[in-house]
Amino acid sequence: MTSLDSLVSWLRAFAASVEEQKDALTALDSAIGDADHGANMARGMAAVVAALDAQSFDSVGALFKKVGMTLVSTVGGASGPLYGTLFLRFGTSAGEVSELDPQALAKALRAGLEGVVARGRPEAGDKTMFDALSPALDALDAALSSGASLADALTAASRAADAGRDATVPMLARKGRASYLGERSVGHQDPGATSTALLVAAAARTLA
């Protein structure tokens, strides 16, 4: 079972990764976007950490509603609504509970992904965060249904997210700013897929 505390650790771990990788994310966004993905995510996750510091939450739903709203209200750009919706839907799916079993966790993540799809309409191969998140959740589901532990399943998910992130390099972008570059988007790693891989990696480190 994953406790509220572990979920908070996950968010803090993600925030720490984002802060650490801020310049790297911005560098990726410079190549095929507008050089703000690192600043955007760092600003948003710093606000999330401030909210976690200021307040405690009595349910997973309440926690992630706050996280999602905070991101929506502080990030802006494409990543604000996308990550915001991801966490909002995660919270709604999780509901007013204080812990999640692996299936509920996987289901909440899947709901988050569906939120991203509803907002941004990314498809596989569009060179977006979808290309890291979707294979990660497929790997999670597969591992869990083959009886793996949550730890192992999340490790598999993280590996899949990393692979999905790497697979964005040769893709021709069809969504987001990188799509404006046409052919010139090929050969660069997508910044959103990169931050999403950090999110899944943080889960593997903290939720298992």
């Binding site: 703000d36 802006g76 969504k175």
Partner: protein, 328 residues
């Protein structure tokens, strides 16, 4: 990075502070980073709200005032504002006749405005500006960017709202302007996003980017530096081949990207006008200057709008904003 700033993180807030002091006729909501008309909401008038990332000044805050926008939301540099801002702006300009959201077609802007529209009670219509011919249009992509036409649209639609036209009509007019506007831009240099601290891309002394947007994204292609005459051709040709501009009076807008001085922009306008004349395009009105910029990028863009009598009359109508002002 050489800029007249204190701290990369406070650029937007501090610029808004200066703008509020320089323009007491406007009202600035510093918490929400919104520039309002001083007399907003105007009863019975459709409210016009726009906004987007900062770094494009005077757009949008500098286009707030009688005859143009009622409010503009300022995001972080090159980052769409958040829904909270758009909600506050929409409520703040709601004079009972509904509100039009003018949104440039960037994923972030579109999504954030969408979320805001879902959150307010006010009747909201939305126009998404997507006039950049550098980007191929397709249902399966993010589509074209919104660039120069936004300025012309805000002016024209602002005049229509000022006349008291109802929301549906104002929104239709906005879509009409968007349908008839096309732009193409280029960069001589990259811009530097304050928080990034270094140029978004490297551009050697003898090269330039063609098909650039307004966020320092690299363009569609990199070509050797060329004289103004050839640059004008590279911008005008794709615009003219995208839409027929020969059968109606045209508004021609040569825009500076921020660091290109007016001397060069007028020179470019001369080249553009010569090409248009050769192509049988009749320029009825023109606008030359840095109106939709990309921080400290050097370069320019060309926007053509296929006008008609109504659009020209609305263009000529009085406007009183920091960025565009005539007849008032």
């Amino acid at each position: 990075m050489k800029k007249l700033i204190n701290d990369p993180d406070s650029v937007v807030a501090e610029a808004l502070r200066g703008m509020a002091l320089a323009h007491p006729e406007l009202r600035v909501d510093h918490e929400n980073r919104i520039v309002f008309r001083g007399d907003a909401p105007v009863r019975g008038k459709v409210g016009l709200v726009s906004g987007g990332g900062s770094g494009h000044e005077p757009m949008h805050g500098g286009f707030v005032g009688p005859g143009m926008l009622d409010a503009a939301c300022a995001g972080e540099v090159f980052t769409s504002p958040v829904p909270d801002q758009m909600v506050a702006a929409t409520q703040g300009v709601d004079g009972g006749a509904g509100v039009l959201h003018i949104v440039k077609n960037y994923t972030g802007d579109v999504m954030n405005f969408e979320m805001a529209a879902e959150l307010v009670e006010t009747e909201v219509a939305t126009v998404v500006v997507d006039d950049d011919v550098a980007v191929q249009d397709s249902l399966y992509t993010a589509g074209r960017r919104g660039v120069g036409t936004t300025v012309l649209l805000e002016k024209i639609v602002g005049a229509a709202a000022e006349q008291g036209r109802p929301l549906a009509e104002v929104a239709d007019l906005a879509r009409k302007v968007n349908d008839r506007g096309r732009s193409m831009g280029m960069a001589l240099t990259s811009c530097t996003v304050p928080a990034a601290g270094q140029p978004t891309f490297d551009l050697p002394e003898d090269e330039m980017e063609i098909g650039i947007g307004i966020h320092g994204e690299p363009g569609r292609r990199r070509v050797p530096l060329a004289p103004a005459r050839e640059i004008a051709e590279m911008l005008v040709e794709p615009v003219l081949s995208d839409l027929d501009f020969t059968s109606a009076p045209v508004i021609c807008f040569v825009n500076g990207m921020g660091a290109s001085p007016l001397l060069e922009l007028y020179l470019m306008y001369g080249e553009v006008a010569a090409l248009l004349e050769k192509a049988g395009v009749r320029v009825a009105r023109s606008l030359v200057g840095p109106y939709i910029t990309s921080l400290d990028m050097a370069g320019c863009s060309v926007t053509l709008l296929r006008a008609d009598d109504d659009l020209l009359a609305l263009w000529d109508a009085p406007v009183r904003t920091p960025g565009l002002r005539w007849g008032a």
